[in-house]
């Protein structure tokens, strides 16, 4: 009986160990050390790279600033509606993310168009309708082209460019970028690979369970 109790306790202990090991996602981008004064004492803190402020328009014609994403976990990608190459497979995979989190208030999906000239608000709305997207979980954002390209290259670290020799006229990488509630990049996934997108869906859950450091 005593032995049995020992085994039982051991199993319980191991189980507890497992419960406490939370997976933490890495924080991407540049970082710098800053000194700040808290309660009269100088302490060193780490300043992480974050997604800078922006102001664009979504598929409903609403003005969306980056403030709307405060306290939201979100996934960002870059596309254009007339894209003949990797976009369909990316959107097919992004639909899985959408279906997993469409009823979760603090998770959003942001698709930035890299062809704002053609992708007007009505074009984006029609595209969203045809994909079967409604509500405010998944926004298709349109804005100043230079601002979008700048965000892609410097903040989300996704390559985009205009290229008249490419099919559709634009070239872009198919990454899905995971951003946390403090606007830090926490993951980057190949949006054309269903396995990596499954990992993204799992990582959003991990991120949701992460305690917010004040």
């Amino acid at each position: 009986m005593k032995q049995l109790t020992c085994v039982f306790l051991l199993v319980l202990l191991l189980g507890a160990c497992k419960l406490n090991t939370h997976k933490t996602l890495p924080i991407y981008g540049n970082r710098q050390a800053v000194n700040k004064i808290v309660n009269g004492q100088t302490i060193t803190d780490t300043l992480y790279q974050t997604i800078p402020a922006f102001k664009f328009v979504n598929q409903y014609g609403d003005s969306i600033s980056s403030k709307a994403l405060d306290n939201h976990i979100y996934v960002a990608d870059f596309f254009f509606t007339s894209c003949p190459s990797i976009c369909p497979v990316m959107q097919r995979n992004m639909l899985n993310v959408y279906n997993a989190y469409k009823d979760t208030a603090d998770v959003k999906i942001i698709s930035y168009t890299i062809d704002p000239k053609y992708d007007s608000v009505p074009v984006l709305k029609k595209y969203a309708d045809k994909l079967g997207i409604s509500g405010n979980t998944w926004w298709f954002l349109r804005g100043d082209k230079d601002a979008v390209y700048d965000l892609a290259a410097k903040s989300y670290l996704v390559g985009v460019s205009q290229d008249s020799t490419a099919a559709g006229g634009y070239v872009h990488q198919g990454y899905f970028v995971l951003v946390d509630k403090q606007k830090r990049v926490r993951g980057s996934y190949d949006g054309t690979d269903p396995k990596q997108v499954d990992q993204l869906i799992a990582d959003i859950k991990t991120l949701k369970e992460e305690p917010i450091k004040q």
Binding site: P84, S85, I86, P88, V89, Q91, R92, L95, Y127, D129, K130, L131, G132, A167, T192
Partner: protein, 139 residues
């Protein structure tokens, strides 16, 4: 001993049947497997691994009746793309399909693949027929 003889005969029969496979069947297999490669390179992104399409943006390739009815115009759709509205499995699609730069033999291969996958049973689509059709494209 008896078992060995029986299994030997069975093996012989299997080899005989295998070698008797008609020229046509071998050609079909060749077209079908090459067509799978062409499909993966040029079609899969949009039409999907199961020919399922994408919501109401890209039509599926699973409407067997439609494909059978329009079998002869499929080579032209691949060569020149599609701008007209199209109803597939009861749903309207009004996007455009870009032209796909394929040789007649590649068109024949991919149509043999699509035409005998996703529920379709169109049989072999041969290169000579494809050449004849693409020379008479209306669009």
């Amino acid at each position: 001993m008896k078992l060995k003889i029986i299994s030997g005969i069975c093996l012989l029969l299997a080899v005989l049947i295998w070698s008797c496979q008609s020229e046509q069947a071998i050609e079909f297999d060749r077209y079908y497997s090459s067509g799978m490669g062409v499909y993966q390179t040029h079609c899969l992104n949009c039409h999907g691994a199961e020919g399922q399409g994408l919501a109401q943006l890209i039509p599926p390739l699973t409407d067997t009746v439609l494909l059978k009815k329009n079998k002869n115009s499929l080579p032209c759709i691949i060569k020149n793309g599609l701008i007209n509205k199209i109803t597939v499995s009861g749903k309207l699609y009004d996007g455009t399909m870009p032209p796909v730069a394929l040789s007649p033999i590649e068109i024949a291969q991919v149509l043999t693949y699509v035409g005998n996958s996703f529920g379709n049973k169109l049989g072999l689509v041969n290169t000579d027929d494809v050449i004849a059709y693409v020379n008479n494209c209306k669009n």
